[in-house]
């Protein structure tokens, strides 16, 4: 009887079956064979190049097919003895930490400030997010022009009588790295803001209202209710920022080329130079492998740390 009712009430007599053999697929019955084309493509464009790259890291490959020799760990040893590579490693870590921390804080501050009933909030959100939509190289060229010694920024500073603040922003090796970091944060903070805005909109309003009824101040509600509930958004924002800042290339290459001297070299920049300027593809691949391991390790540590602070809604 039950069976008859079921049949009568279901118009899809040829609908999905657990085995997925009918016209439509069900989550439990996806035929793995259908994944094969995608896996083959993925293997061709990701897995094979990655694994073969790991092999080339142990060779003196010059980019040409002939004359490649196995050199053991020599390339990795050179990374830690080469002055350019050491500077790049140090700079990459400085960039990763400072950009991740500052950009997250700035993005959070912007999101909190614009998650209000402010009339102009949508216009302001668009303005703050706009730089993230532009290509990094365009941003870099614009700022390079603005930051030249006789450029607009110094002209404005001198016009305001702030001559002491006018600097050789990209030509002074003690300033150049921080200038690049500032430009990166300026461009990307809007993206972090958007992630946090999405997180804020997912927090039930009754939690804050309840806390307010209990007498919590704005700061207490932010610190004890909002921020803990933003941990998932923080995880996403910080992970994306950390990864992108560790492999930072575009802005550095376009603004300073790694200079002056080695002041703004990053692992990605010397990886490019060693491969395409010096023709040392084996050494470059070793740098890429080290960069991959650093990104992996940092991301795992960060995810683990943030997970400890995650809260159950």
């Amino acid at each position: 009887m039950t069976s008859a009712v079921t049949t009568a009430t279901s118009p899809r007599t040829t609908g999905p079956t657990p085995s997925g053999r009918s016209g439509r697929l069900t989550p439990g019955g996806v035929p793995y064979a259908l994944l094969l084309p995608a896996f083959v493509l993925y293997a061709m464009v990701v897995l094979y190049p990655t694994l073969s790259g790991a092999v080339y890291a142990f060779t003196d490959w010059t980019g040409r097919a002939d004359g490649t020799n196995f050199v053991g760990w020599a390339n990795f040893g050179e990374i830690f003895s080469d002055v350019a590579a050491r500077s790049a490693l140090r700079n990459s870590l400085i960039i990763a930490v400072s950009v991740t921390v500052v950009q997250t804080l700035v993005g959070l501050a912007l999101a909190l400030a614009l998650h209000t009933s402010l009339v102009t909030r949508n216009v302001l959100r668009t303005l703050f997010f706009a730089p993230a939509l532009l290509p990094p190289v365009i941003i870099a060229f614009l700022w390079t022009f603005i930051l030249t010694p006789q450029g607009p920024l110094n002209t404005v500073l001198r016009g305001l009588g702030l001559d002491l603040l006018a600097q050789n922003w990209l030509g002074d090796s003690s300033l150049a790295l921080w200038t690049v970091i500032g430009v990166v944060i300026w461009q990307s903070a809007g993206l972090t803001m958007v992630i946090y805005l999405a997180g804020l909109q997912g927090i039930p309003t009754e939690l804050n209202e309840s806390a307010a009824l209990d007498g919590a101040s704005w700061w207490q509600r932010t610190r004890l209710v909002t921020v803990p509930l933003l941990i998932p958004a923080t995880t996403v924002a910080m992970s994306l920022t950390l990864i992108s800042s560790l492999k930072l290339f575009d802005q550095v290459f376009a603004m300073t080329g790694g200079g002056p001297g080695y002041a703004t070299e990053t692992l990605s920049v010397i990886m490019y130079k060693e491969a395409f300027v010096s023709g040392r593809f084996g050494y470059s691949t070793a740098i890429a492998l080290v960069l991959t391991m650093i990104v992996f390790a940092f991301t795992m540590v960060q995810l683990g740390a943030l997970r400890r602070f995650d809260v159950d809604r």
Binding site: R64, G259, P260
Partner: protein, 445 residues
Amino acid sequence: MSPITSQSRFTPSRRALLLGGAGFGALTLAACGGFVNDDDGGGSGDESGSGDGGGTVTAYLSTEQNTGIEPLVEPFTADSGVELDITSVAVPDMNQQLAVQLSSGTAADIFRVSPGYSSNVAAGVLGSGGDLLDLSDAAWAASIDDGTRALSDVDGKTFAFPVARNSLVMAYNLAVFDELGLEPPTTWTELLEVCQALTDSGRTAISHGLSGGAIYLQFYVYILAGTLLYGPNPDLDAQMRAGETSFTDEPGWTEVFTKYLELRDKGYFTDGALGVSPDQAMQDLATGAAGMTVLSNSGLPALYEYSETGAEAFSILAMPAGDDADATLMPTAPDFLAVNAAAANPDGARALLEFLAEPANVETYASALAVLPGLDVGAQVDNPALEPVLPLVDAGRTVSYANYLWPNGDVQQTMLQSGQQLYADEITIADLLTQMDAEYAKGTP
């Protein structure tokens, strides 16, 4: 509460998945196919390069070479029946891409190579690696002068065609010199006096842009080394290769960098040069904010673009390095084309070089770019901009760029990058020379 459940996920039909997968695969394969140079060029494919050509020749040229060859493209096609498919990019980009193209089999039939061993895509490096066609039997090969031959040949085989010769010159703003009553300096002391007069007038004496790789730093080194080192001792390269001397041991190298820094210390270079781009430096000269700058003469057309009066606003001189005006040498460098050993149309490529070697075409190319003829075929340069330095050329008072016979491109790269540190006083001249010696010792890859 979750807005998306497993039951509400999009469930495409199998047919859609299969079609989508097949389509994506086809697109990917098609895209991969785009990286393969499948243009047979219509040539014979005969690797010896003999035959009558025809079809299409792919060419990968620098932007300057493209400007020079532009008026010759149609005459060449009319003369030979060979079409030219030209791609042009800036030299640094070309140097970075060519090795990969050669490795992947996607390089053009004919392309620019650096002279000697000055980069990983230099004639010496690629020639010895088997990447270039041996052009020794070409008729024009006999017209290469000895200085150029040292940079185009490997083991007696000619691998590169000198399409032109560039020179390192000092350009100056005529209006500024006229206003201050200055004469072009012919000695180092006169140069310092002119610089001081320009500085006293509130201008930058020598506009200098070192941001983005310090490319222009090397020009001063080659100019000063040409007169101070290679003039008195033409065998210096051979001695350095033999290990008889080095950057550190040869006192002349220290003198070269000392004189370069003297210009900085006296305040003659652009203030904050490490943060100034080469383009900005040229603009300063064009606007009269600066009096002089050093550049390759192939860069003169770009300089002219910054001035409303174009070429009439400027003149050039051979930058002096010492106080004997007659001892001043002007660095010149061949600009090479070479033929891919795996060219799809080697006959067409050879035909192009033979066409470019004809005296009338040598003149056309050189005049279009304000450069010197590459081959010694009696071509006359018809470009007033070069007149001030032609007496030096006619008298044979030229010298190669110093780096062309250094064994690898990393010596130059180290000089440029660590040279920025030297300019910022973060390292000493001795430190820089030691680093250059270390790169030199690595030899040719």
